[in-house]
Symmetry: C2
Subunit: 403 residues, 2 copies
Amino acid sequence: MTPFSVDPTRFLRDLHTLRGFGKDGNGVRRRAFTDADMAARDWLAGQFADAGLTPCFDPVGNLFGLAPGRSLLIGSHSDTQPEGGWLDGALGVIAALEIARAHGEAGGNAISVVSFQDEEGRFGALTGSSVWAGKLSLAQADILRATDGTGFAEARECLAGRQGDFVDPARFNGFLEMHIEQGPALDASTDRIGVVTGIVGLRQVQIIVQGQQNHAGTTPMALRRDAFTAVTRIATRVEDRMANVVTPNSVWTVGHLRLEPNASSIVPGRATFTLQWRDADDDRLARMEQVIHDVIAQVQEETGCTIAVERLRQDLKPVPMDQTMQAALTRAAEAVAPDQWRSMPSGALHDASNVAALMPVGMLFVPSINGISHAFEEDTAEDDLVVGLQVLADAAAHLAPGR
Amino acid sequence: MTPFSVDPTRFLRDLHTLRGFGKDGNGVRRRAFTDADMAARDWLAGQFADAGLTPCFDPVGNLFGLAPGRSLLIGSHSDTQPEGGWLDGALGVIAALEIARAHGEAGGNAISVVSFQDEEGRFGALTGSSVWAGKLSLAQADILRATDGTGFAEARECLAGRQGDFVDPARFNGFLEMHIEQGPALDASTDRIGVVTGIVGLRQVQIIVQGQQNHAGTTPMALRRDAFTAVTRIATRVEDRMANVVTPNSVWTVGHLRLEPNASSIVPGRATFTLQWRDADDDRLARMEQVIHDVIAQVQEETGCTIAVERLRQDLKPVPMDQTMQAALTRAAEAVAPDQWRSMPSGALHDASNVAALMPVGMLFVPSINGISHAFEEDTAEDDLVVGLQVLADAAAHLAPGR
């Protein structure tokens, strides 16, 4: 493939131009299919055309900039949360634009660009890439409804006059996505690049502890069946026992808890809480689940409380990144930022999880300052944005067809 | 003092008659100053008169049946919770009536009876005995308001035509109260009598843990400041450390907890919870508090969370029962129910706590089946009610003046 070099100044200029659509202070409000989102996509479509790509909106609003013939697809999403950060998915879209453009200028033309629609879930979650990957039918998507009452079918009517057909995934030999980390790991380790090994899977249970509600003055400790005591034993013992099973990248969380009757002078009779765990390895997710069940059985025995475990949501399976894509990103990271990169799982979901059902996929992270995302304060050092661009460009040069 | 013997049949009959005022299924609805409560008090006043006592309503609705000259006061309260049990305070009032009556029949006349008003706190808490004991002024009581909007001043207008003055506490050489235990200790040990050593004191703090709210997928365990993890460490460590400080009668409770934002995919940023502890010994209450503060300091250090401790209510000091009264009750318990009684603190508040500010006080418990009270299911075996009456009568025979 023709060598080519990207232009960091042009890349940063375009990133700030995109920020202008829906700008609010340091952040951005650009929900899927709002005026700001569609204006941004129209501007992007123009940039794609200027770069020699054919702009194409598909029926769910995913915007492609297509290279002729077979190509490597790069991109992310340009919609945001209600109070979104300026980088998030926008970074990956503008980096893809710059790489495709630079490649074209150097005489190559085998890189296509995409901005998926509704990654941030105004209607569903990762809606645009879910439909493209066949995980959600168009009919299923059309009945989704935003919290403001707008239906997806109604929202996508604004595509009339812009709309093309779904793009054939067979055009692409793979997909690369650059994204901000949305977590504190790179910021804490001062690495500049994360090469993503996989997108973690997720399991979640709701645990209901039935004890005995009682007077907090007249019920001796030895005769209590205190639902909250059972909860604290489960939580602390899970923490202890997980050590034998997990890696530093495994996580588990008690995020939601309700006590009943929740009064300071009454021994809690009932507690309902969620326990969620995530890991990039499905076997490890299962071993973590076994720890949880073992601890619950033990605490039930000890406390005399009745403890029920229910699954309230579907498991999400881990999605490993393609080895060839990972190798190209790793090689590029070491070339551009020697000893300043690490391999890591992605704890958050991304469009790449869906696209992995269609083709080989690789992902790259740049640091999030203080780990903050989905907030106006979200930011990344400019140098790190440029390093990310260069690593992505280097990997793309090795992965694009026609090399 | 003249020996006398009580009549269990008459006692049980009167107890069931009183149950009829406000009866609902097995339980009773007899809130302070409602029609059912005042009808019950008028009936009691008639019974007092028939027993040779002078009925006297004081300005807050406490109903006395006064023996001439100096006497021992016995009683409890006849008002109930909105959904009250049939025994609760009623038991102590009817037992007192039977004892005073039997004493009069035997030619003695040194036992007075009382039913305090609003022990169950329709307006305040232990309102009638609080005013009598000088802990609450009549003016302070008059501005109390029930949840239905009724003011105490307005409610006590129904006393017009019944009302006498406050009774001079100097008439009495002491006060005895029999009550159901309202806890499971006697039921579990199969003892029939509890001789109360003191009414426990209570301290309570609200603990606010400020951690760092974060994404439950992208935030590695090592970089979290999880407010709920801090809570569970405080709770389990307090449980461990208390062992060195407490007796089997000491209790502590986390009854109320609020997590923020309380969502299953978000590491909790903030937790607010109450920790309440009770013991009959004020020094031990202070030592328990020290354990709590030590644990909090340690968990703050370990977790990096900021932990604030606030006192939201006034401490209640423990109220020890009078040694002479305890000795009389102990002797009587051993005589009537050898090896079937125990000494124990009262974990709940009673009118006796207030009366202890005026004169020597003793208390007696009978078992609550399954420890249930403040509910329609509240009950005590009939045999245990009679044993309680006999122990109380025996102690009264030794404590009443003129012996």
